[in-house]
């Protein structure tokens, strides 16, 4: 018989490791980032072009433009979530793992409670026409969700969360950089993270 301390440590480490959701695909991070960049470029085209994205908007604020941007953002989000879902499901299937395990449910719950609350909060911001707060709100709530979910998956995801939180806080102070910081957070950072995860765990 092993030493009881060792045996307990063994049990503890097994319990911790086995409750993590490991089928997140790095490639889906890259795709998600790409959708976000495409969406942000469209928004830039509508709002600022031909001015720089920091400069004054080229068109006056109007409802139609707002709806256009919001619908684009919604489409990006739906595409991103379904891509991550489908690719993780495929990865589970390929390794013959159960996709809807208690680990994946815990992960989804930890991620989506802050994200869902954030979504409702953003809805309130839109209804009260506090549009410039959408950028910090989406980044911060998403960041909180990621840090929260990092206990239930590969813990690298917490750095992704810290990046979003950092960018979100900065964007709250610098509203004129909103679109740029949003593109960095949801676009560039996702792509970098996805690439790193792909090379670290899937290659």
């Amino acid at each position: 018989m092993k030493k009881p301390e060792q045996e307990l440590a063994e049990i503890k480490s097994m319990m911790e490791r086995s409750t993590r959701f490991l089928s997140l695909s790095g490639l889906s991070g890259i795709l998600t980032g790409t959708y976000a960049l495409i969406g942000a470029s469209l928004a830039y085209g509508w709002i600022y072009y031909p001015n720089s994205p920091i400069g004054p908007p080229s068109t006056d604020y109007n409802e139609r433009l707002l709806h256009q941007v919001l619908i684009t953002a919604l489409i990006v989000m739906v595409l991103a979530i379904s891509t991550a879902w489908i690719m993780s499901q495929n990865k589970s299937k390929k390794n013959a793992h159960a996709f809807l395990s208690s680990a994946s449910k815990r992960f989804a719950q930890a991620l989506f409670i802050p994200v869902l609350v954030g979504g409702i909060f953003c809805l309130a911001l839109i209804m009260r026409e506090q549009i410039e707060w959408l950028v910090p709100a989406t980044l911060i709530f998403y960041g909180i969700g990621l840090v929260n979910a990092s206990h239930f998956t590969l813990s690298d995801i917490k750095y992704l969360g810290y990046c979003q939180l950092f960018l979100g806080v900065i964007s709250a102070f610098l509203p004129s950089l909103g679109l740029i910081l949003w593109s960095i957070g949801f676009g560039v950072v996702h792509i970098i993270y996805g690439t790193m995860m792909y090379y670290k765990y899937e290659k």
Binding site: M15, A96, H97, A98
Partner: protein, 97 residues
């Protein structure tokens, strides 16, 4: 002394399997294999052993065309594991005092 040293958990694979099933409602064969880094045959025989003692239950289904075998801990199994844990803890406490 409280708790009970359970021979079933003397083997490290069975100990690990049971640890995993204490915190996961169910767990599938391939995930066990990856997590524990053991061969199919080795894992299967330990799972069979736990099943025979009625510590775990087997559930077979399909994902697409691949068979998916999942395991859950029974009440008896959880109780036995808890007793085993109590035994270990008491052992540690006794050694300290």
């Amino acid at each position: 002394m409280e708790g009970n040293y359970d021979k079933a958990f003397e083997n490290v694979v069975r100990l690990r399997v049971m640890s995993i099933l204490m915190v996961n409602e169910e767990y599938d064969f391939n995930s066990f294999k990856e997590m524990l880094d053991v061969t199919d045959g080795n894992l299967a025989s330990h799972l069979k052993n736990l099943e025979k003692q009625e510590y775990i239950e087997v559930n077979k289904s399909f994902v697409g065309r691949k068979p998916l075998t999942t395991y859950t801990a029974t009440k008896t199994g959880k109780k036995a594991f808890q007793d085993h844990l109590d035994f270990l803890e008491n052992l540690i406490n006794e050694n300290k005092s």
